[in-house]
């Protein structure tokens, strides 16, 4: 297990290097440079600025300087936000995005497992049909529509109660977080419900369920100990990639609910070609996602003994 983890971590490091390189190349493909945003500056000032940021060096040299700094954990200084270090931007705003993402994953996973199990129990009866209809809706409606509708709902709740019970936008308290994370997790919840349902239905016909039933175990025990535990496995497998989808998918929700997350800084940085912020956020996100997938895979090994043997 340890060897497996180490191997995965090493592959992860190489992946992060690949992400960094791809970002660097793509970023330098964009026409223009970060200094072009400012008002027209004289050639001399421009030269000084280029020197300050190291833009006067050849691109290959810039690449190695950047890699070296990255190894030391330093992403440099932002071009557009004066004297603000990229590390500070990430430290200030990533926790917001991460909290939102983690809450959304929590909603999605718990909701998906619960609804999925329910639909499997009530197969082809009213609860199943109703939930599966909602699931199809959840898969087909874009997240920004949910975000807008969620806000509308909050406005109506607040005006009905006559006071601002749940804030419609912004960030800070738990009540700020509920609606955005619910909206963000909705699509994934629908996906996981579908997955959970099919995996529950597949397991009902397994021999070990029949054996358990033949042994005379109580239906509750069969359901919780045998069916549910095994049915959750495929859900955990897709959770890794889904965490990735949710954390970056937070952009829209952050935009609609005016949440000061990292997504907004990334979009802004790309528009202004803020090299260091683009590199910093992308590499950081990439590393975070790679780590998440590794953690989920390793956890999977603990949950499912069959994986550990391989």
């Amino acid at each position: 297990m340890l060897a497996y983890t180490l191997k995965r971590l090493l592959a992860g490091v190489i992946t992060v290097w690949f992400i960094a390189t791809a970002t660097f190349i793509a970023m330098h493909q964009v026409p223009g440079d970060p200094l072009m945003n400012d008002k027209a500056v004289s050639a001399e000032i421009r030269k000084n600025l280029e020197q300050k940021y190291g833009l006067d060096k050849p691109v290959v040299e810039q690449y190695f300087i950047f890699l070296g700094n990255m190894l030391e954990g330093d992403f440099g200084i932002s071009f557009t936000q004066q004297n603000r270090r990229v590390n500070d931007i990430i430290r200030d705003h990533f926790p917001v995005s991460a909290t939102l993402g983690i809450l959304a994953v929590f909603f999605a996973a718990s909701g998906g497992i619960l609804w999925g199990a329910l639909t499997a129990i009530y197969r082809n009866r009213t609860p199943d049909i109703v939930i599966m209809f909602l699931v199809i809706l959840g898969i087909s409606v874009p997240s920004f529509v949910f975000a807008a509708l969620g806000q509308l709902l909050l406005v109506n709740i607040n005006s009905l109660l006559g006071q601002s019970v749940i804030p419609v936008a912004g960030w800070g308290t738990i009540s700020h977080m509920l609606m955005p994370s619910l909206v963000l997790g909705l699509g994934t919840m629908a996906l996981l419900t579908r997955l959970m349902r099919s995996s529950m239905l597949e397991i009902v016909n397994e021999d070990y369920i029949k054996t358990a039933r033949a042994k005379g175990l109580s239906p509750m025990r069969i359901f919780f100990r045998h069916q549910l535990r095994n049915a959750i496995l495929p859900v955990i497998t897709v959770l890794g990639p889904q965490i990735a989808a949710i954390t970056t998918g937070g952009f829209v929700v952050e935009l609609v609910f005016a949440i000061p997350g990292l997504g907004r800084y990334f979009v802004q940085a790309v528009q202004q070609l803020d090299y260091t912020v683009i590199m910093g956020t992308t590499v950081f996100y990439g590393a975070f996602l790679v780590l998440m997938v590794i953690i989920v895979d390793v956890l999977y090994g603990f949950v499912d003994p069959r994986v550990r043997l391989q």
Partner: protein, 469 residues
Amino acid sequence: MTDVTPTAEDFSPATSSISVEQISRPSLSYWQDAWIRLKKNTRAIISLYIVLSLAFFTLLGPIFWNVDPSLQDLNQISQAPSLPKTAVLVGQYQRWSGIVLEDFPAEPADYPDSVDAVTDLRPFELATTQQVRLVWNPVVGAAGYNIYRNQRLPENFNDLGLPLGSTYGGNEVSYEDRLSLESRPYYYAVVPTDGLDEYEVYTVIEVTPSMIITLAEASDRQLIKDANVAQTGTALKLEFHPFGTDYLGRDMLARLMQGARVSLFIGIVAPFIYVIMGIVYGGFAGYFGGTIDSLLMRFADFVVALPFLLFMILFKIAFGIGPGESGIFPMLIALVLLLWPATARLVRGQVLQIREQGYIEAARLLGAKPHYLILRHIIPNTMGVILVTLTFAVPAAIFTEAFLSFIGMGVAPPTPSWGSMCNEGVKTMLSHPHELIFPAVFISITVLAFNLLGDGLTEALDSRMRSRE
């Protein structure tokens, strides 16, 4: 021993009397069988019809609905969906000096504590969307009147609505309202005043202005050919916006059609290209195996690990969006570059599986060359899985396009796409919900149809299902 002399008859073919087992049903190919099973799936067939009508809407729609989607009409901003409207053609607006009674005092002799409400409040001439002219009978003791307009019947004195203006003088008994009138019921209220303060009595009438259009405006909007020939008083058909207009007065239906072209173009072409790329890449890796396979697949793993949305945005900008470009092609390239590995992995897995099948061995023993094997045996057998992937890839690509356009990183204005229309619509969600609802519904229905079709295809093409029937 008897001599047998063989005759020519002995060498003629014998007639066989063994009955061959009859095949009772006609033999079906894989695809025919899949089609029969798909037809049994009502949801999938309905989805197929939806997809076909979307194609019809996109490709032939502009022929039947020949309206310029980029034509701005600032007279008709954010109009709600409606039936066709007609308007009466009128000449230019004529000034109205109002009615001032000469036999009535402008200022009352004394100011009483209370006065009666005005009587006989009525529209003067026909009320039109150009102007509503009101007259009423004077009230003894009033030194002026305040005029209010409400969009619903006032409940009490404090609910008279928008204060339009005042007249100063008890004998000034008319008012002209020209404030952005629409063809809908208004409730006008007149309150007598003592010159400063109001007496708490009011009179209400309901007025519904009729739709009119001036000659100048009609010729501006090209509703009439020649302003000199046209007759005032004739009814004129106004521009028809069945889905309403957007915040710049552009026709929503025409924009939805053009937006469908963008969204569906990206949604169908991008998956098509990257699925083909994935087939070639994955097929190559899977067929040759060994070192080539592991190297190719390791590279695919790296691409999968790129944070998707960040790189979509980065690539889209990197592939350039110059002035006047719509940004559709950069988005297409970005989608293809980022999404091919998923298909490559899938095809590789399939090829690895099929490669070991008996019929491939048999074909190889019979001397089939690799390219023949790949083209004739391996690729056709992966087609089912690939078709299903393609069906599910379309909604994913449409979602991505909508998502990027929504955060303002997608197609550049003025090119509409369903996503960018949602982005514009969400800003006026409360006052003009139709601007968000229509594009959102189109996205949802399209994604829904492709998802259900994909589900149906998965079931129909799954060879395991065959034995169950």
